[in-house]
Symmetry: C2
Subunit: 446 residues, 2 copies
């Protein structure tokens, strides 16, 4: 525990990490010191910034820089710790040290939270410290706090988010230009929107960590990133965007968390009658009329569907130094006010312990594109494969191309495992030349 200090003394802040976000946090603390003091009731004072190389940060006084974050955290005049290093270690160790010393922690570390929230929340609880992490999902967009607090009296059915700006930038560019994934990835890299190794973004690892956090909050269940089903977007083709456009849809990389309800004629919820949760990150078609369809470029948005609130959307900048720092600063002010007025951050709520449904049990709609040679017999044979497995077809579009035809089949909701069987069976049909595309369709209710 930090020693008690006079009530009018400033609250000491340690910032761990001086990247884009840390730099902005330090700037805001300095530029808005007076406003922050009035909002908190006591001043915030920067005690130090832990960095790897003190010579790289000439903007702030040298005596504030340290390469020893543990010593900085341990200082008796540090009350609040901002962790913006990222990654699992040393961030995890440092946050635990701070919480165990009764110091409140604000972090933007999605990877850490996706896997270790339980451990961190327990440390916060045991040592009467706060753990805030609004910035970990969707940058400046308040979505963590609304899920924990505003929706705490409602029953969330589904959370659907565009939570990765890089993949959304590439897909938006493909949609607008008609160009290929490879071309638009190169463009994103040239403009600085994608890393040289883009896999964390385009393969859905970043989205999976955020989906795990969102699902944990929405369903009062501890969900870790490793149980999130994940499909990358690098296989999305310009042809699939054309198919999407014909269906008045676009393609988005979505993080979806939803309760698995039984569809008509489907088996009921998971074993023991207990509901389950499907958490997945993958590209999917969504109708152009859906609020997420208009979320372009590097923007993020999260749609929450709840029993009483209905459909809510939260939209804004999901990344970047200043927007992420805005969320960090909001948490820092709340943690500081709690120190001044004796409040507490809401505790972790994981009582529901819903089991995770395997991807095969998710109930989704699908769009299958097939090339068929024998047009007369093809449709009946194709339809038969769906009908025999109890999957209902919503629409079929047919388009001629030379001697062959392109069939686009849109299904109603069905179990993914059954869809997989159907896709395999279709590929075996004599009249089907190839199954060219199988994509999920989200954001519709049928």
């Amino acid at each position: 525990m930090s020693r008690p200090r006079p009530r009018d003394e400033a609250l000491g802040v340690a910032v761990l990490g001086m990247g884009n976000v840390g730099t902005e946090v330090v700037r805001i603390m300095h530029e808005h010191a007076d406003e922050l003091r009035q909002r908190i009731g006591r001043a915030l004072e920067l005690r130090g910034v832990a960095v790897r190389d003190p010579h790289r940060h000439r903007g702030i006084p040298a005596e504030l820089l340290t390469t020893d974050p543990a010593a900085l955290i341990a200082r008796p005049d540090v009350d609040l710790v901002v962790e913006v290093i990222g990654g699992i270690d040393p961030a995890r160790r440092l946050i635990l040290a701070a919480l165990c010393a009764g110091k409140s922690v604000v972090t933007a570390n999605k990877a850490l939270l996706a896997d270790y929230t339980g451990e961190l929340a327990a440390a916060a609880e045991n040592h009467r410290a706060d753990l805030y992490f609004e910035a970990a999902v969707a940058g400046a967009i308040p979505v963590v706090r609304p899920l924990i607090q505003s929706l705490s009296g409602d029953r969330v059915h589904r959370v659907t988010g565009i939570v990765n700006g890089t993949s959304n930038f590439i897909l938006s560019a493909m949609d607008h230009s008609g160009a290929s994934y490879t071309e638009m990835l190169a463009e994103a890299q040239r403009l600085g929107f994608a890393e040289a190794d883009p896999s964390a973004d385009v393969e859905g690892f970043d989205g999976a960590a955020k989906a795990a956090i969102l699902a944990s909050l929405a369903f009062h269940t501890r969900v870790t990133a490793n149980v999130v089903y994940r499909e990358g977007m690098s296989r999305i083709t310009a042809a699939e965007f054309r198919t999407a456009a014909e269906l008045d849809c676009t393609v988005k990389m979505l993080a979806v968390s939803e309760r698995v309800d039984a569809g008509p004629g489907e088996p009921g919820p998971g074993e023991g009658g207990k509901e389950r949760v499907s958490v997945r990150v993958h590209p999917a078609l969504i109708p152009r009329t859906h609020p997420l369809a208009g979320v372009d470029g590097a923007f993020n948005a999260v749609v929450v569907e709840a029993q009483n609130a209905g459909r809510l959307m939260f939209y804004g900048q999901g990344a970047g130094g200043a927007p992420t720092a805005s969320a960090v600063m909001g948490d820092l002010v709340m943690a500081a006010r709690n120190k001044v007025y004796g409040g507490r951050a809401p505790r972790e709520s994981v009582y529901a312990e819903l089991p995770i449904a395997p991807i095969g049990d998710a109930l989704t709609r699908h769009v299958l594109s097939l090339t068929v040679s024998d047009r007369a017999g093809a449709l009946a044979a194709v339809a038969g494969e769906f009908a025999s497995r109890g999957v209902s077809i919503a629409t079929v579009h047919q388009q001629l191309a030379r001697a062959e035809a392109q069939l686009t089949v849109v299904t109603h909701r069905a179990r993914e495992s059954v869809l997989g069987e159907i896709a395999a069976a279709l590929a075996e049909l004599d009249s089907v030349t190839s199954v060219t595309s199988v994509l999920r369709l989200e954001g519709t209710e049928e």
Copy 2:
């Protein structure tokens, strides 16, 4: 103060009012009792519902109904009070009684909060009780909590909201149908979206109360409804919608709160160099590309622009029993958790005390439509009136109609008072037959 009771005892809830929202609150408390207990750590128990006529509410046990709200609040086993009566009195008196007895209050009462938040917040503070009011603005949409908490470390520049579902329903219908205000008001009344006396909605009284609350939170300044500038929408014509469409805009009833910055060549912020706040409710053009343009029908949305967060949007159902009850229940769970774990709701923050700018000092863009007879000379004369007062014109559109022409002038930002002078001067010009329309243009930066 309510007498101390054992820690595992249920928390007692009094509900004042059994209209659409109260009915849904009671239903949710009953249907989700088990989930709520697990989220709070103790059960919520309904101690009573104060109604005017107990014989009208057969859905709940007769012994829970009372016509004496003050006695219900005073019961020692009531810890939390939900006020969904609406209006100033007796709601104000009852809420004060509850807070002064140390009981936390959740209210959806925008009219009361717009004028009496200071008094209510002081009572809450003095008696260590919580006052929550997420449901008072934009129904289910979390916007109060994000402004108080998530943006507490940022500097909000502007809040622009569609916060009245009735007026938005009518304007959306006019946009889609091309019909008149009178026809679409009648349609809204027929469908139950507008009251027989629609003035609270269409004259902006409802919006003004919500704008006062939003401005108070965004600018840490106490803003009451009576200082909000207000213009109704009943004068909006189908012709103005056509003008809007030509400019790729639509017309929305907007609640705008913004810091008044000085434009180029304009005098600086208010007296003593202090910033001021403009708070106003009126119809305005917004570009179809603006996120609020797509908010149709009875939906609400609030856009917040902040220095670091950038532009955020919150979207959802702004009214209705279940959506509003969702927000009430979120507040109720938070207030209950505070009772169990010792937290506190954030205190009122009004340190900034920014003066309110009169409407004439607001800096807005305008769209003026004129009928001119002498086309050759008109444009020069019209442009001269703008130029001589230092107002810069962005675009001029000209359209022929019989012998006359219709001019549509879009300005850059300028003081409203100057725009008023210009409109008056234009009407006096020989070449101008009439000034047919003067509308604000919001949601653009130039």
